[in-house]
């Protein structure tokens, strides 16, 4: 075997289809130790399917998945793994503490209970029945169940759905701490800010294919659009005539605040100053991951439509 020791999970040329519809096509991903890898993509892109194949719940049409050098779904892999899946309900009449204590018993060396409480922020409500929990609290309990075995590999499928911003931030903190302790984390999310903040690498999925792969910075840098924002007493038409500007918009109709998009902010600024257009409160910002995502997805859907 020539798997490098730091690779925790390797996915090789994996294909999967349901009813003749290709859901995963030729996926290759490596997940390294102490790495957070985010899988981003629109609904139906194949994110959850990929997680299910890695958990051994779905068979593969072709290709190979290996976790710690073993096949997915085997007991020895499960004992190194924690998973947070999209679960709509938990058994109502058990308390948070009972749920966690039970899941801890499945592992030989579980995480200390107080530590689980600290990561999940559930200490105050540990004796509440799961029936009484809010959506966000249920998510935190599911997170607690995923980490309570001190897994080396953690799957988080849309972990922050339904969480308020405080809960989301404390979960991010938990993920970063676990990563620092050596846990490898595979995350799927809709929240681009989440992927941007947490990930070492991002894999973007669309129609079951990997469309982009890289660090958040690499993906953002593939989009060289910059945004120029300012206020101005001038009419919007004064800016539409600028040659280096690709898009002009008035941010809010009641104010005189404008946003220009430009492939080269320096040239646009030069143009504005040469024409002596009055601009105040000037800011120039790089593309957010969200913009990159939108642009890449648009490129992909136009290119797949033209095929």
């Amino acid at each position: 075997m020539n798997t490098p020791p730091q690779t925790v999970a390797s996915i090789r040329q994996v294909c999967k289809s349901f009813d003749n519809k290709q859901v995963l096509s030729n996926i290759n991903i490596d997940l390294n130790q102490a790495e957070v890898l985010s899988i981003l993509g629109p609904n139906g892109a194949g994110k959850t399917t990929l997680i299910n194949t890695m958990l051994g719940r779905l068979s593969l049409d072709s290709g190979e998945i290996s976790l710690f050098g073993h096949a997915p779904g085997s007991m020895s892999v499960k004992r190194q793994t924690g998973a947070m899946l999209q679960v709509s309900g938990l058994p109502d009449m058990s308390t948070i503490k009972e749920h966690i204590t039970l899941f801890q018993s499945y592992y030989a060396h579980p995480m200390d209970y107080e530590q689980v409480m600290a990561f999940s922020g559930l200490k105050d409500i540990e004796n509440q029945y799961s029936k009484t929990l809010s959506g966000g609290q249920k998510q935190r309990l599911l997170f607690a169940l995923a980490i309570c075995g001190h897994p080396k590999l953690l799957f988080l499928d849309e972990p922050t759905v339904g969480m308020d911003i405080t809960a989301r931030k404390s979960l991010w903190h938990a993920i970063q701490t676990l990563k620092a302790q050596g846990t490898s984390i595979l995350l799927t999310t809709h929240y681009l800010e989440e992927a941007d903040q947490l990930s070492d690498r991002i894999v973007m999925f669309n129609h079951g294919e990997i469309v982009r792969e890289g660090t958040p910075e690499e993906i953002k840098s593939q989009i060289n659009t910059k945004k120029i924002r300012f206020s101005s007493p001038l009419n919007i038409a004064s800016f539409s005539t600028l040659k280096t500007v690709t898009k002009v918009s008035q941010i809010s109709s009641s104010t005189d605040y404008y946003e220009l998009e430009s492939a080269c902010a320096e040239k646009s600024m030069k143009e504005i100053f040469e024409k002596q257009l009055q601009v105040n409160n000037l800011t120039i910002i790089g593309a957010a991951l969200e913009d990159a995502f939108e642009i890449i997805n648009n490129e992909e859907s136009t290119s797949s439509a033209s095929e």
Binding site: P5, G82, Y129
Partner: protein, 255 residues
């Protein structure tokens, strides 16, 4: 390269915690515990004691058949409805991908069935002895209790299969639609020999009928067929449904 040191958790500890959690949960769920405990007790008090057709034999006969009715209930519902609902929620999937041994899930529900079955038997025996004047030898009480508790096992297998195949929202109704008619047609509510001949023939296909006949042998109230027949029908049902359950559990790509 296989890097795993195969550290195993304590299996007995898992079994105990799983069974404890599951039992506590169901005792706290009135929708499960009240009908499961109350129905056999209520029916027996009503038909076996208060409106008994024959005060010398009926209290004993119906104590036995309502005990069969009573122990089938928790087996079918804790497995059948329980698993179907957990599957619907995605909770079952989470358990499946966790390192919980599948045996723990089954053992916990069997223990739970045994606990509920024992309570039902205890209540029925007490009511029978106190108000129905049921008089049996000690070995008869003990044999009956053992037959009832162990007799719930084939119904655990049936329940497990139902739970793995049924949809969450239709499971309670479907299980009731199997449980109640099957109990009546097996002669658990009224003695089998008061049912029409055709129905008595049909009862041969039903596992509760065979369990009731086995138990009735203890008090010489059965129809007189060989023990081996009843045991083999119950064993055949168990094997069939265990096979179906294992098949459903190991099926991949279930959606």
């Amino acid at each position: 390269m296989k890097t795993i040191i195969d550290d195993k958790p304590n299996l007995l500890n898992i079994f105990i915690l799983e069974a404890k959690t599951e039992t506590m949960r169901l005792f706290r769920t009135p929708g499960f515990s009240i009908p499961t405990l109350l129905f056999p007790i209520m029916f027996y008090t009503f038909f076996g004691i208060v409106f008994s057709m024959n005060p010398t034999t009926m209290p004993t006969y119906l104590m036995i058949t309502y005990a069969v009715f009573g122990v089938i209930g928790p087996a079918l519902f804790s497995f059948g409805v329980g698993i179907a609902i957990e599957r619907g929620q995605g909770w079952f999937d989470l358990k499946e991908v966790s390192p919980m041994p599948a045996s723990a899930y089954i053992v916990s529900r069997i223990s739970l069935t045994f606990i509920f079955a024992s309570l039902i038997i205890l209540f029925l025996f007490t009511i029978g002895a106190t108000f129905g004047d049921v008089r049996l030898m000690r070995w008869q009480w003990i044999s009956l209790a053992l037959i009832f508790v162990l007799g719930s096992l084939p119904f655990c297998a049936i329940g497990m299969t139902l739970g793995l195949y049924l949809k969450a929202n239709s499971a309670p109704a479907t299980v009731n639609l199997i449980y109640l008619p099957m109990s009546f047609l097996s002669g658990l509510w009224l003695p089998i020999n008061v049912l029409p001949e055709v129905m008595q023939q049909f009862a041969n296909l039903l596992p509760p009928y065979h369990l009731a006949q086995l138990a009735l042998k203890i008090t010489n109230m059965d129809l007189g067929f060989p023990i081996a027949l009843h045991l083999s029908v119950l064993a055949a049902y168990s094997l069939l449904f265990i096979f179906l359950a294992v098949k459903a559990y190991h099926k991949k790509d279930k959606q």
